[in-house]
Structure formats: structure tokens, C-alpha cells
Amino acid sequence: MARTDDAPAEAGREPDGAPLAVECRGITRRYAGVIANDHVDFKVREGEIHALVGENGAGKSTLMKMVYGMEQPDEGEILVRGKPEKIDSPRKAIALRIGMVHQHFMLVDAFTVAENVVLGAEPANGGRLDLDEANREVAELARGFGTNLDPAARVETLAVGQQQRVEILKLLYRRADILILDEPTAVLVPQEVEELFQAMRSLSQQGKTIIFIAHSLEEVLAVADRITVLRDGKVIGTVVAADTTEEEVAEMMVGRPVLLERVHGQTPSGEPMLEVEGLRVLAGAREQLAGANLTVRRSEIYGLAGIEGNGQAELVEALVGLLHPDGGSIRLGGKDVTRATVRDRRELGLCYIPEDRHARAMVLPMTLWENSVLGQQERRPFSRRGLLNPKAMRQRATDLVRAFRVKAPSIAAPAYALSGGNQQKLVLAREFASGPKLLIAAYPTRGLDIGATEFVWKQLVSARDAGLAVLLISANLEEILALADRVGVIYDGRITAELDGSQATMNELGLYMTGARSDREPAA
């Protein structure tokens, strides 16, 4: 791809004289013949927030792992503050004041914030851990970037966003001034994302350099100074965030224009497939679901919007059959399934894309062909009189992988060998192949890149057009507004509003979601 010529006049500086924190020159990383990074040139200026975007598997994480010393490049060199460095371990990276926050936190739950932060570099007083000193330092660091974390709070009591803050504090405590954040927003709810961005901006103002890997272009444009796009291991280009648009970056990522816009249903919605009446779920004394009413019809996408923790999780579990409701009824295709087993509901045509696909939809150490029939293992031809039919299972896996373009080394590979987006594709493919009538999709695009998101959206729409009833639970209002024929808002365990999908606006939904507005209980 065309790139402006590098003027190697002075190491460690841009042609315009801006100092560089990190510079990668011609970095190539191969895995057994396949190129993860192909002569990547990548420059990060000091004090900037630099976003690294690209589809799943574009090579972002590989590149960052090399900067953090977890992997070594086969070719090329990495310059840190203008000096070529051989970063052969994270220890070396930390010595160079480079720190990385991984997507999965590495915290000790039972320890306090301060204990976690100082772990491995504890202030000691004649061999004794000086916890007072640790608390003091950590509190000071936390104030430094505008967060009021209690150093004495135990990590397990903190929200995810706060735990992430602890990870960042760990880096600051080790005096890192080049911070790498690997998909920091993937685990956060919208409010936490905003808080993270404020923290990032304040760190940047203090002169820290931040490189972050991201999926959501909206977020990238909101916080980054510059954006570098990777595709298939190559740098497509670096753009200034203020001068670009979401569409432009999306096209750079995918290599073609991407259309994420409202898709209208082609068929009018039919008879009710899922009818929920007065559903109640108690957790101790608290009503997690306080009489939810909801109807989803054939050929309809019903989008359920709401801030997480308002009863969505309980609703989904009750619908799928993972928990028994304390009151109310659920009807599936006219049949009462309130107390039916998961298997019975699946036989009636329920399929389920769980929020947490690693944990609930796959068995990661098992092979793809085994995962391809999970939930359908009792059906023919996958098993007959209790005996499995591996041939049929392999055939199914091959079909699913082809039909949904799952990038997989082999169907005999364990599921953990797939990237997140490809795992989600396989789950989607499997559930669609079960001959469903009702699809419950909980946050189906969470953590997916834009290409995979587009793919999932199209699948949901074509499922709707094929006559399925789709219940889409999402925290992403854009997704809801783009896909849903009807939108329900769940607040405090109740469906407080039902709106026409083509007329609802984000502002309106926001008011219902925060409880600022509420309709009467809508009729089912």
C-alpha cells in the first residue's frame, strides 16, 4: 500500500520533527509459513493516543505482543524513543517503560487494589511489606489520572471498569509511559467506556503515550489522535482521527464499503412465537424480573434495549430454561414451556446465542466437529440409540465452516484455536442449523470487529426473513435501531416501553433505559 516516504534523516522523529515513542520498521512475523505481520511500518508519536484497528486476525495483537516483548519479530526492528531495542521479554519492555493491559485481566481477586498494584515490585521495609506506603503511593497515582479508587478495596468487589483502572495503575506504578491497551472497551458498558476515555485523555495530557487496539470505530474516532489500520498483516494506512470518517476507516479495514444501516423486513410479522406473561425471578428478596410481558412474532426481530443488570440476564436464562421463574408463564409456539427442560425447548425450535460464547456456547478444548453439534447431540444423524456418529458430526462441521466462512485450521482443531469472531460464527452457524423457530441472541456482536458484525447482522436479518422469531438483546442501541422491527426497553425488571423500530430514536430509548420515562405496562 502507498505510504508517504519515510525520511530517515533523524532517528526517532517524524519528518515534521515530532518525537516518536515507538517506531516499528519493516516488522515481519511468520507462523509456519503464514504471515501475521508483513513488513509493518508503524509510528507512534510521544504523548498521542494512537488507535490500532483492523478485523479479527489482521495482526494487531501480534504487533503489540512484539512491542511488549511477548514475541519476537522475524524481520525488522523496533525503535523505542529513537533507539533500536531488542525487546526479548515483557521484563525488558517494562524496563523500557512500556506497559500492556491485556484483554483478560491479570489480577488477584482476593487482594486489595494496592496489593495488586505493587505485586512484584512491593515497597519493603527491612523485608516487611510496607502496606501503608503502598496504599499512599497507589492513592496518589489514582488521583493523578482522575479516578478515586480506594486502595484498600478488594479487587473482587470492584466493577469491571474499575478493575481495568487497577491494571492501568499497575503500569503507572512501574513508571510506564508507553501504555498498550488491548481492546480495553470490549469488556466495558457504555458509561465505563466514557470514563475510560476520560482517563486516557488525562494520561495523554500528562505526556503518556497510549496505543490501543479497538473494534468500535465510533469509539476510536471519539478518543484517538491518529488511527492506523491493519488488514491481513499489512499496514493499510495511518490517518488523523479529526480528518476522517467512520465509513472511510471501515472501508480501509474491510477493503470495500461497509453498510451498517437499517435493514427493513421484507415480510410482515406473523403469529406469536414467544409469549411471556408476568415473568418474575427473585434473587433473595430482590425481584430481578418483576412481571415482564413480551411477545415475539414470526418474521420479526424484537430488540430488547436496556442498561445491563436490569433483568436481561434473568430473562434470557428463564427463556432458555436455565433457571426456573418464580412466577408467570412462557409459551413457545403456543405451548407452555414455563417449566420445560432445555432439551424440550430446543426440540420445540428454540436456539440460543449466549452472551458469553466461551463459557456457555462452546467447550474450548473439544474439537470443532464436536462443538458443531453441541446442543443437538441427541438428534439424528449425530447420534442414534445413544451412539455418536462422528462421520455425520464431521460432515456437519465441514458444512458449517464452509457456509459461514469460519476461518479454522481444521475441524479437528480444538475450539480455542479460533479467534473470537470465528468462534461466534461457528456458534451462529450451529444454532441456525438446528432448524429453529425462535432465536434468542444475547449481545451477538459484542467483541466482534466491523466485518464480523456486519456478517452477524445480515444473518439475523435473513433469519427473520426466513420466518424466525428473533429476540435480540443488546446494549448497543445502534444495533437495536438498525435491526429491530419492534423495540422493547427493559428497566428494573420490567418492559417499560415498546416502540416501533423504524420510529424509535436513540434519545427516546435513552430516556426509557434510564427510567426517566416509562409507559404503562404494554399489552402483550
Binding site: 511468520r30 507462523y31 509456519a32 509459513g33 503464514v34 504471515i35 501475521a36 479479527n56 486476525g57 501480534t62 470495500r256 432445555v342 432439551r343 440460543y352 449466549p354 463459557a359 456457555r360 462452546m362 467447550v363 474450548l364 478444548p365 473439544m366 464436536e370 453441541l374 446442543g375 447431540q377 441427541e378 447420534s383 445413544g386 451412539l387 455418536l388 464431521r394 462441521a397 465441514t398 458444512d399 465452516v401 464452509r402 457456509a403 459461514f404 466462512r405 479454522a408 485450521p409 481444521s410 475441524i411 479437528a412 482443531a413 480444538p414 480455542y416 484455536a417 479467534s419 470465528n422 452457524a429 441456525f432 442449523a433 432448524g435 456486519e454 456478517f455 445480515k458 433469519a463 426466513a466
Partner: protein, 395 residues
């Protein structure tokens, strides 16, 4: 709606290349090599540690040579050595399978010890009190053994499913209860009252001949071995091998085994897949107990012929090591059982023929258990790293 009929995915990308549906042979061979690497490393380390211990304790290189030659001559080269190894491996295999079934469901059955004690007890009752022709009596006695083991696993299983009591605690407790029950019955209601005098044993009367399991020595000798007639290998050994094969088949090729593995590896994915974890845990635990019940039959029906006070011999605990060593696979368990049985055999040889304490084999067994975990983990990481790399390159 069928997947095959779905419209092509968005965009005009070229179709993905055909996906290999099977792992190639070279790949398989290298994986098998890795699998065997771990036990090999572990055995080597245990031999070295055993040698060091002998050198330190005995301060005599000659003893080391004695032990080594005994482990070969008496342990393997002796004409009846394999009969003893097969005989002792029989309960080890059953107990190892019992542990492995529970492992597969994510459960830790520490109670195999108590379960085979009770199984042997019920088998002894049926074997002594009933009189019937062999074709009826022997199968009934064996089934009674399974029923006893199953019954003893039932209580921990119920406690686990309905009250959430951890099976490790409850099965250990049941071991003590089983032991107490055995003491009471063998010195009271089931005591053989003909046993009098200075060497009187606290034991049951002998089981009827119709309930005894025949010796396998004639069979082995007919295929070229030269075992002594009194060697303790019975047809239960064949049953154990069959059980291991059936176990392997069930785990890999049946729906029950599939669901068991899903539950054991990721219980949170089991429920959404329509697997009822409570029912599966119940089944796994009861099956584990029933197979454990078989572990007690070799000594009762093939060797002693009666139950005595020192009946409980630690097979259940060795079995945990065997299942671990064999990675819960059928063939692995058989191999592990043969290995530990060989160590037992070598141990008695060392006690008889050398001046070295025979407990050195216990140390070697312990070292194997300790190192095998580490060795498997290292191998696992190596393979996982390789697979992840492959995933990276493709993604």
C-alpha cells in the same frame, strides 16, 4: 432452514478453501509422540530419584546393583512375574476406571476405597449365603459387588446433587464409615465362627466354589507362558481389560460419553446444550461406584476366598494416580495399572532379596505421580502453543 441452503455470505470474497476434516498422519504421530514423552520423562526421573535415595540411605553402590537386578530378575524375568503383575493390575484397572469416570464428569471420587470394600462385602454375602450353579452364582456375585459399590456412591451423589456437599469430603467420610462397618460385620454377624485358636482370623466363611473365579494360568500357559499353577491371575483380568475397552468406547463414541465430557470440561456450556448436569453427575457417580465395586472382587473371588479385616488395601488411592498417569483414557489406565502393579511386584522382590527397604518403590511411585503432572502440563503447553500459533497464522 438448513445451513447448506443458506445464501452465500456477504461480499464477493472467493470461497474459502476446503477445510481439512481430519488431522494428517504425521500430525497424529507427532502428537502421539508428545503424549508418550511425558510418561517417559516421568519414569526416567523416578528411576534416577530412586537410585539417589538408595545411594543416600544405603551408602553402597552394590545395593543399587542388587535393586536393579532384582527389579529385572524378580519383577519381570521370573517365570511367574507377569502372572503377579496381571493379577494385581486387575483391581487397579477397575479402580482406575472408576476414578476416571468421575473425573470425566468433573467429579473427584476419593471414595473408591470404601466403595470396593462394601462391594466386596455384598459380594461375599451373596457368595457365601447363596447356593446355585456357577453360571448363576458367579454373575450374581459379581453384580452384587457392583451393587455394593453403587450403593456406597449413592449417598455422596445425592448429597452432591441435592445439598451441594462437595464429593471429595463426603466420599472420604464414606471411606471411614465403610471401614467401621467392615470391622463390625467381620467381628460380629459375618464372622467365621470355625476360626478358633491362637491364629484365629477375623474373617467371613469362604465363598462357595460356585462363586469363585477361575484361574487364568492354564490359558496363559497354553499360549506359551510358564506360570506356576498357584499364580494369582484370574479371568477377572480379562473382564478388567474388557471394561477398559468399553469405558474408552463409551467416552469417545456414545452420546452419554460426549455429554459427560462436556459437563466435565465446561459445566456452564452443558446446561444450554440441554445436558442436565444434576442427572449426569448422578449417573457418573453411580457408574463410578459400580465399577469401583468390581475392584474388590479379585482378592475375594480369585485369591483369598473370604473377606478379612485387612481387606482394604489402598487400591482406591493408587487408582487416582493411575487415572492421572493414564490421562483418563482406557489404554492409559491399563498401562498405568500394569506399571503400579509391577512396582508392587518389584517391591516384594526387593524386600526378599536385598538389604534395601522395599519402600523404595513407594518413593518411585510417588515421584512418578509428582512428575507426571508437571510433565503433562509442559507437553500440554507445548502443544497449545503450537496450536495457537497455527490459529494466529490462519486468522
Amino acid at each position: 432452514m438448513k445451513v447448506e441452503e443458506r445464501p452465500p455470505a456477504p461480499g464477493a470474497e472467493p470461497p474459502t478453501e476446503a477445510v481439512a476434516s481430519r488431522v494428517g498422519w504425521t500430525e497424529r504421530a507427532s502428537q502421539l509422540g508428545l503424549q508418550l514423552l511425558a510418561p517417559a520423562i516421568s519414569l526416567l526421573i523416578s528411576a534416577v530419584v530412586g537410585a539417589l535415595v538408595i545411594l543416600i540411605v544405603q551408602r553402597n553402590v552394590g545395593d543399587l546393583a542388587d535393586v536393579a537386578s532384582t527389579m529385572w530378575d524378580y519383577g519381570l524375568a521370573n517365570r511367574s512375574a507377569f502372572a503377579f503383575i496381571f493379577g494385581r493390575a486387575t483391581p487397579f484397572i477397575f479402580a482406575g476406571i472408576a476414578v476416571a469416570i468421575a473425573f470425566k464428569a468433573g467429579l473427584f471420587n476419593i471414595g473408591v476405597e470404601g466403595q470396593y470394600a462394601i462391594g466386596a462385602l455384598t459380594a461375599a454375602i451373596v457368595g457365601t449365603k447363596l447356593s446355585a450353579p456357577t453360571v448363576i452364582h458367579l454373575p450374581l456375585t459379581i453384580l452384587a459387588g457392583m451393587a455394593g459399590g453403587l450403593a456406597w456412591a449413592l449417598i455422596p451423589a445425592l448429597l452432591k446433587v441435592y445439598r451441594g456437599a462437595h464429593e471429595v469430603i463426603s466420599t472420604i467420610m464414606m471411606n471411614y464409615v465403610a471401614n467401621g462397618l467392615l470391622l463390625y460385620l467381620l467381628s460380629g454377624p459375618l464372622k467365621d465362627t470355625t476360626q478358633v485358636g491362637a491364629i484365629a482370623q477375623q474373617r467371613t466363611v469362604p465363598v462357595e466354589d460356585t462363586a469363585r473365579v477361575g484361574s487364568m494360568v492354564p490359558f496363559f500357559n497354553s499360549i506359551g507362558f510358564n506360570f506356576r499353577g498357584s499364580s494369582p491371575v484370574t479371568w477377572l483380568f480379562l473382564l478388567a481389560l474388557v471394561a477398559a475397552a468399553v469405558y474408552a468406547f463409551v467416552v469417545r463414541r456414545t452420546r452419554f460419553g460426549f455429554e459427560l465430557r462436556v459437563l466435565g470440561i465446561n459445566p456452564r456450556a452443558a446446561e444450554p446444550a440441554g445436558i442436565r448436569s444434576n442427572a449426569m453427575m448422578m449417573k457418573a457417580m453411580l457408574l463410578s461406584g459400580a465399577v469401583a465395586g468390581l475392584a474388590g472382587l479379585q482378592d475375594l473371588l480369585g485369591f483369598d476366598g473370604y473377606m478379612k479385616l485387612d481387606y482394604v488395601r489402598g487400591y482406591g488411592f493408587t487408582a487416582i494416580a493411575i487415572a492421572l498417569l493414564g490421562r483418563n483414557t482406557g489404554i492409559g489406565i491399563v498401562a498405568g495399572a500394569l506399571l503400579f502393579s509391577y512396582l508392587d511386584r518389584a517391591s516384594s522382590g526387593i524386600g526378599l532379596n536385598t538389604g534395601v527397604p522395599k519402600e523404595v518403590t513407594i518413593i518411585m511411585g510417588g515421584v512418578i505421580i509428582l512428575t507426571i503432572v508437571v510433565a503433562y502440563e509442559l507437553v500440554r503447553r507445548a502443544t497449545a502453543r503450537r496450536q495457537l500459533k497455527e490459529a494466529h497464522e490462519r486468522a
